[in-house]
Amino acid sequence: MGEAFLKLDNIRCGYDGQDVIKGVSMDIARGSVLGLVGPNGHGKTTILRAISGLIKLRDGRISLGGETISGSSADRIVASGIAHTPQGDLVFPEMTINENLLMGAYLPRAHAHRKERLRYVHELFPRLKERSNQIASGLSGGERRMLGVGRSLMTDSEVLMMDEPSLGLAPLIIDQIYDVIRSLKSEGRTLIIVEENVSRLTDLADEIHLLDDGHVIWRGNGEELVSDDVLMRTYLGG
């Protein structure tokens, strides 16, 4: 990988006084795709929450383009160019699809280009355009995921983090979501994807990190990971 654009330097963080992430460092190059895999409850989601500022670091430093972002509030981190599609999507249930998407363009930088961004998201997810005035609470799981990803794209951020984009979805919808992720990669976005289903990352991620008990215990590419029977059986149920 090239020079680090997003850099995690020995970070520690967690919940209720307990460290979930116990000293993790990562260098993510601009335009690259990083896959985070590992057993449930071992810190993948927590890393994304730490990067986006939803939880504070106990130690270490996170920087984006050389500027320290750890310690900043979540809204400032978003403004610096990091979008996060969290697990469960966190759509605004009583807003329409269009209102949800417009919330993605809340920041002045994105707000100025909201119409173009909306057209772009509608092209990627025509279903969201068809149902633009529908209230989000009535959406199916797949539609919610499309809305979650679409809303992140509205932020026009350079770094996109997606937490389990395929979780609980039908294979056809997963294919659709991953088609969009691939097109984002070809646009040169920097992507961090947390995924249970390693096979989805093998041909997509430039690098995969395997997390166990709050540590990165393995780094490599997708082919190396799937060819390692011990790792697959021990950590990934393969």
Binding site: S52, G53, L54, S73, A74, D75, V78, A79, A83, H84, P86, L90, V91, F92, P93, E94, M95, E99, L102, M103, G104, Y106, L107, H111, R151, T155
Partner: protein, 292 residues
């Protein structure tokens, strides 16, 4: 027939005043998960501010009302900056803030008493007279209150529905983490909501004082009614609060006419208790409200 029209007109007037107060409370609950027990004090502050600006500073009522609203907004902001902001992250926030705002209301009522005394001043904004439609006498004051509250509620609706700030307030009320991830500075949203609520409480207080008199505790009873409205509508549901305010205002007027002023409020409370047993999350609320 005339009586029915008058009772309904009176009820709509009451409902309009309650709506402004209840919407402010509902916004605060929705965004901050906070029961503001100083809301009644904000009503009193708004009405005394209007009275003082006109009477002591000699400023025209056209400016006195907006200035009083600004005063209410400033007090709302001060409550956020001085108290709420420091308590918000604590796990016991919901209980602590009730106690803190009760204290604040007591202090504020005593300060008003200290500066203005207990004399029941008349709000200079009262407009006497009215007009007749057939046999029905329609007081100007009721119509003005109704028109003002309708316009203000419509403005609040447009602000919440169609502006970037309004969407941010609604988003924060629905899911704070998601709002943060969209870049919404939720601290600023909380402050905006407190200012907004203070302005609405002030104008509600001014309206109330035009049909009663000024007193330091004048906001207590409307605040209790506003809490009832917010609970019956469903905590945090702004539009529901408006509909319920109008409905309860009319019901109160009907009860006052039917069984007398003394028993109208207890009868209304009885109805509210039954409705909350039937729908504990309110008519427009979702089944659970979790502060996150």
């Amino acid at each position: 027939m005339e009586t029915a029209v008058l009772v309904i007109l009176g009820g709509l007037t009451l409902g309009g005043m309650y709506a402004l107060s209840a919407i402010g409370l509902s916004l605060i609950w929705g965004a901050l998960g906070m029961l503001n027990m100083a809301h009644g004090a904000l009503l009193a502050i708004g009405s005394y501010a209007c009275f003082a600006i006109f009477t002591y500073l000699g400023i025209s009522l056209i400016f006195a009302v907006p200035l009083a609203m600004i005063a209410g907004g400033i007090v709302g902001l001060a409550i956020y900056v001085v108290i709420v902001r420091h308590m918000f992250r604590h796990p016991s926030f919901e209980t602590n803030i009730i106690i803190a705002t009760i204290g604040l209301a007591i202090v504020s009522e005593n300060l008003i008493l200290r500066f203005f005394g207990a004399y029941p001043y008349k709000q200079p904004l009262s407009i006497q007279g009215g007009f007749r439609i057939g046999e029905i006498f329609v007081p100007y004051q009721n119509l003005i209150i109704l028109a003002c509250s309708s316009v203000l509620v419509a403005i609040v609706g447009v602000l919440l529905q169609n502006t970037r700030m309004g969407r941010a307030i609604r988003a924060t009320a629905m899911n704070k983490d998601a709002a943060l991830l969209m870049g919404v500075p939720i601290g600023r949203v909380y402050a905006q909501v407190m200012v907004f609520s203070g302005c609405l409480a002030a104008v509600s207080g001014i309206m109330l004082s035009t049909i009663t008199t000024l007193s330091p505790t004048m906001g207590d009873s409307p605040m209790i009614k506003a809490f009832i409205i917010v609970a019956v509508a469903g905590l945090g549901n702004v539009y529901g609060a408006f509909y319920v305010a109008i409905g309860l205002g009319v019901l109160e007027a009907v009860f006052q006419y039917g069984i007398g002023v003394r028993f109208a409020f207890p009868a209304l409370l009885l109805l509210v208790i039954v409705s909350l047993i039937w729908r504990p999350y309110g008519f427009f609320g979702s089944k659970t409200v979790v502060r996150n």
